[in-house]
Amino acid sequence: MTPILQLRAVKAFYGQSEVLHGIDIAVERGGMTVLLGANGAGKTTALRAICGTVRREGEIIFSEHRLNGRSTEQIARLGIAHVPEGRGTFVGLTVEENLRLGAYTCTGTPHENMQRMYAYFPILAERRRQQAGALSGGEQQMLAIARALMMSPQLLLLDEPSFGLAPLVVESIFALVERIRREHRVSVLLVEQNASLALEFADRAYLIETGYVVSSGSAKALADDPQIRRSYLGY
């Protein structure tokens, strides 16, 4: 089966500096792929390259669509939902308004999707009329994921969902993402620094170091690899 997302020889630039030096990544349909690596390796940049938020070169193919020349809004409309680093919630708007915005690209009322999100994240239902900025870190992360899911995406890009969150909260979020992936057959591309947890849930993994893919394979293979265990898993 062809992968739902494929990056071939993709380079990304911040201004004049080349940050990604030609990477190849594939995400299987319905699977979860994780990008691992240290700070500044280029993982977030890879997600930004997919969404068109940074200048990029190379081939990016999503479900038979070429993403290269498209703007970020067009890419979102194709069915790619990006939960950015730092969550990117609209802190001045209420929880409900944030969710409504998630469904901006969908025709029809967002009511059904919103009820589904409230079922997955009951805490959001409780706080639906509160300003998003007043939510805790974990709640904001849930809101960000819920907002992304409101558009019933085919591909979900998750950037460091564990950032700044307590371990228990992180585990519950990962479990939820896994459940959603299975129930709705959403493909997930995950960027994480918390390698051990990510490798538990993912199918495939890529290891990125200063803009190059240095290792790739199934998640289990990378988890068992002694080199990676020493460098990134701490044992």
């Binding site: 809004e73 990117g88 609209f90 708007l93 915005l101 901006y104 690209t105």
Partner: protein
Amino acid sequence: MHQLLQQIFSGLAAGAIYASLALALVMIYRATNLVNFAQGEMAMFSTYIAWTLVNAGLPFWGAFLITLAVSFLGGMAIERIVIRPVENAPILAAVVVTIGLLLIFNSLAGWIYSYTLQEFPSPFPDRPLFGALMTTRDIGVIAVTLVVLAVLFCFFRFTTTGLAMRAAAQNPESARLCGIHVGRMLAIGWGLAAAIGAVAGIMVAPALFLDPNMMSGVLLYAFTGALLGGITSPVGAVIGGLIVGVTENLVGTYLIASQLKFTVALILIILVLLFRPNGLFGTAIVRRV
């Protein structure tokens, strides 16, 4: 006492106009971090369009609505054509572009319509009410302003486009990720601001008489009102505009002759701002290191 109330009411009527223009300034500032120096001249030009339509025989409110529509489209066009090239440039470049626009509109109006003062009809008869406490014209101006504000409030609070515009102004990056076309939202914002400015111009023209320099004073008051209320707060813009209108009137009546009245009012307002340097309702710019 009677005179005080009278001055307060006529101050509120003037303040309603400042509030409208202040709201236009705040809308554009929230979306683009830019103070549109040309807002007054754009409003003046719209008023001339309304004047032309009325002189051609259209009924007042018909001309009013057509002018609003034309101003909306014009504002959108200006954002796309004139402002778009400098949207990623340093903010000073955009400021200079608005100053250039100011000159262009002022000069064009003078060229097309000449600099002689023109009379502009008011839809409200100028009759005193409640024992000369206020006039029907003042009530009319305040009422129109309130209607415009109510329409805007409903637009931003209850429609999807309004929500998208608020989102695009707050966080353009995330808005794009939701599929919102931020450029289009900016253009709509400019269009709305231009339409609101047109309302302000049409409401003030009967009193000030129509000429290309009609709005320059109004713009200064509106700018002051917007900042007094907090440049990031639409509610603040309205309240700030009203306060400026009343203050200007009271200062002019009780403190000092008309020449220095704006200076004194401005100094009073700056003293207030010293205690609240982000305006009465403005939010502080939180800086994260």
